[in-house]
């Protein structure tokens, strides 16, 4: 009976953490799951990848997409892109920031400034983009996900799968294609096999579009997609590494405490028949 109970409890536990089904419906192709450096328990960001991703973001995405919650100073934070403070200062100074307190109502940027938005208002953004609003990038990587096939969602709790967002972005970036004959795409939209139909965003990436400093990194759509997905994950979760590092310390001390508590409890109860 103990055994049956244990099994039932295990099922109960699994069931209690039951997953919402099919969060972001992707009717199209099966997603490809990438091996992210920041995945899993021990994963950390690859600062070179983040820097490349930032370059793609800056040169391509940022023309339409804002990232309102990102400050220049974030780019020099530990565990992220690891730019030096002087690099960030120089970068920020390249941008003009609207500041009513300044002499002409604007000034050059400083590290404490937020990343400037490409459009002043939502209406401007829509007008420039065929009526569609390009979503803000700050937490977009956590606002999207892909479902793992089958019972993968149960495993997710045990492997702490948090990479659904970058997997989504990567697949979206790499699945633009010619529309099949039986699919009709409304005017002003583009066929994306992963999205499962027409999408308002034109294919943003193309081979060779961005020139990387490191010539050993392939300058392909696939590589750009990967790098910018990683960068978007960093934008959404900039302190991921610090959080995991602290997590290990906490788990170690908690486990030690639990073992000691068990021994203490056993010792204490050893003279009680129960």
């Amino acid at each position: 009976m103990i055994k049956a109970k244990t099994i039932l409890m295990a099922i109960a536990l699994a069931g209690l953490f039951s997953a919402p089904a099919n969060a972001s419906g992707t009717a199209g192709v099966e997603p490809k799951f990438s091996d992210w450096t920041f995945g899993g328990l021990f994963g950390t960001y690859d600062e070179h990848q983040l820097q490349r991703g930032f370059q793609v973001f800056r040169e391509v995405c940022a023309a339409c997409h804002s990232a309102n919650l990102i400050s220049f100073r974030n780019l020099s934070e530990e565990g992220g892109l690891n730019y030096s403070e002087s690099q960030v200062k120089a970068l920020a100074a390249e941008y003009t920031i609207a500041d009513p307190a300044s002499l002409d109502g604007e000034r050059s940027g400083i590290p404490a400034d937020r990343w400037p938005a490409p459009f002043a208002t939502e209406q401007d953004a829509r007008d420039a983009n065929n009526g569609a609003l390009p979503p803000d990038f700050s937490v977009l990587a956590k606002a999207r996900t892909v479902q793992r096939p089958g019972l993968g969602w149960i495993m997710n709790y045990f492997i702490a799968y948090q990479e659904g967002g970058p997997d989504y972005v990567y697949n979206l970036m790499t699945n633009y294609a010619e529309a099949p004959h039986d699919v009709e795409i409304p005017a002003g939209q583009y066929y994306n096999a992963f999205f499962g139909g027409g999408i308002a965003m034109a294919p943003p990436l193309a081979d060779g579009l961005v020139t990387y400093d490191d010539a050993s990194v392939p300058m392909t759509t696939e590589q750009y997609a990967k790098d910018v997905s990683a960068f978007m994950m960093w934008m959404a979760e900039p302190h991921l590494i610090a959080r995991k590092e602290l997590g290990f310390k906490v788990l170690i001390i908690l486990s030690a405490f639990a073992v000691l508590m068990y021994l203490t409890k056993r010792k204490l109860w050893s003279n009680v028949k129960h």
């Binding site: 400050s71 100073r73 590290p111 404490a112 030690a256 405490f257 000691l260 203490t264």
Partner: protein, 183 residues
């Protein structure tokens, strides 16, 4: 038998102490974040130090800028103001401090101070009070706090009234002839 019981008791005590110690360490480490969260956050700290361009400020002009949420006077003093400040004997001052000590050498014309009266924190009025320099352009330099009547001289030192101290000079440094970093 007695030894066995004793060693058992020692082992038990050690276990209890070890458990208590680990528990105490864990609890203490859990408490620190709960306290530290009230300290200034990263966005506030990012503005703890600011750079300011002095070039638009003409001689005899003053601007008030914001630093760490506080108003700061940045004054480009005239020669007469500097002279007036330098000639005051220290023993006449309530809070004795030379003009040199309140400015940076080579940039004596620049006076940078927190715009907060050391009495009860009002913002003093510039070019006013009993210690201003009277010139053909009107009153220049000197501050007067309208709240309780404290008079400050052209170096921002307390001369008269209820305030006990000179206007506070924040930590700052010249990065170039026209740029200062405050904080």
């Amino acid at each position: 038998m007695a030894t066995a019981a004793k060693s058992d008791a020692t082992r038990r005590d050690f276990l209890y102490i070890a458990t208590g110690a680990v528990g105490a360490v864990a609890a203490a480490s859990a408490v620190w974040p709960l306290i530290d969260q009230m300290n200034p956050d990263a966005s506030t700290l990012a503005l703890a130090s600011i750079e300011f361009d002095l070039s638009p400020i003409e001689v005899g002009q003053m601007v008030t800028i914001k630093w760490r949420g506080l108003p700061v006077f940045v004054r480009n003093r005239t020669e007469a103001e500097v002279e007036s400040a330098k000639t005051v004997p220290l023993d006449e001052l309530r809070d004795p401090e030379t003009d040199e000590a309140r400015t940076k050498s080579g940039h004596e014309n620049w006076l940078i101070m927190l715009a907060s009266c050391t009495h009860l924190g009002c913002i003093p009025t510039a070019n006013a009070g009993d210690y201003t320099v009277v010139s053909s352009n009107g009153n220049q330099g000197g501050w007067f706090c309208p709240c309780h009547g404290s008079h400050y001289d052209t170096a921002g030192r307390i001369r008269k009234g209820p305030a006990p101290k000179n206007l506070v000079v924040p930590p700052y440094a010249f990065l170039s002839d026209t740029t200062v970093q405050i904080g």
